[in-house]
């Protein structure tokens, strides 16, 4: 029996990698969600990580399960200040595309049994990380509900 949480994470990775985004991305499930700065110099890297899961009894015969999945989006903003700022702008746009995609009511997950009910991006990007490492980093948290 496989983990429903991990099946969900894998499906999100597949959907991101199959998507047509304005900026090309490579998404993967990460057990230890981290990157070397040198890895981020070649392009956008996305790490998908299960964050939390809660279960409540919904009725005498059903439970409501809520999953929180984090999508970390990272890119090194190499070059001069203008080039770096242009990369930041394109990355903010990319994360908004991901938000809009997963909040689209047409998108359901794991054989139509789960649905994204909320999306939160925090931070939009981290100015300290951008200043110290030249890295754009943003985290999109999806809240996904299942009733069965």
């Amino acid at each position: 029996m496989s983990s429903r949480t991990l099946d969900l994470v894998d499906e999100i990775v597949t959907l991101i990698n199959a998507g047509a985004w304005t900026t090309a991305v490579i998404a993967e499930r990460k057990y230890i969600p981290g990157f070397q700065v040198s890895e981020l110099e070649s392009g956008v890297k996305v790490a998908v990580v299960p964050k939390a899961r809660s279960i409540e009894r919904d009725s005498r015969i059903t439970n409501q399960t809520e999953y929180q999945i984090d999508i970390g989006v990272f890119r090194h903003g190499a070059g001069n200040e203008a080039a770096r700022d242009a990369i930041v702008d394109s990355m903010v746009e990319l994360v908004e595309e991901l938000e809009a995609y997963f909040m689209n009511r047409e998108v359901t997950l794991v054989a139509d049994e789960l649905m994204v009910i909320a999306a939160e991006t925090a931070p939009v990007y981290d100015p300290d990380m951008l200043k110290d490492s030249g890295v754009f980093g943003s985290v999109l948290t999806l809240t996904i509900m299942e009733v069965r």
């Binding site: 981020l40 984090d70 990380m129 110290d132 980093g137």
Partner: protein
């Protein structure tokens, strides 16, 4: 005698343990010989996501830091371009945990250890 010893060691380091790097501030630059110091990774984190930044110290003769005929000291934001054979990488001078961009290697101040973060390919 201690000063002589420190000078002797500095000379030996300079002769046989250095590579040429480019020290840059704005439009001014100078080629200097530097010893690559400890390589530490300093993590930065957003939520559970960790970004591992390369941090290198460059040990140089303080007297070699001359830009546009002016003797300088290392400042936050200066850059050092270093090619270890795999391509030139820019390192940005940054403050360490003690809020210092550099420190003297010995009490006589001949050599400086400059702290940097990896910035990216040149």
């Amino acid at each position: 005698m201690l000063k002589w010893g420190a000078s002797f060691l500095s000379q030996k380091r300079h002769e046989s343990m250095t590579e040429t790097v480019i020290y840059r501030r704005g439009n001014d630059s100078v080629s200097v010989k530097a010893t690559i110091g400890r390589t530490n990774s300093e993590d930065q984190a957003i939520s559970e996501f960790i970004v591992d930044n390369d941090r290198i110290d460059f040990i140089v003769r303080a007297s070699d830091l001359v830009l546009a005929t002016v003797q300088i000291t290392a400042q936050d934001g200066d850059e050092i371009e270093y090619d270890n054979g795999s391509g030139a990488i820019i390192y940005t001078v940054r403050r360490d945990e003690a809020d210092q961009v550099s420190r003297t290697v010995d009490e006589f101040g001949g050599d400086l250890r400059i702290h940097t973060n990896r910035r990216g390919p040149a």
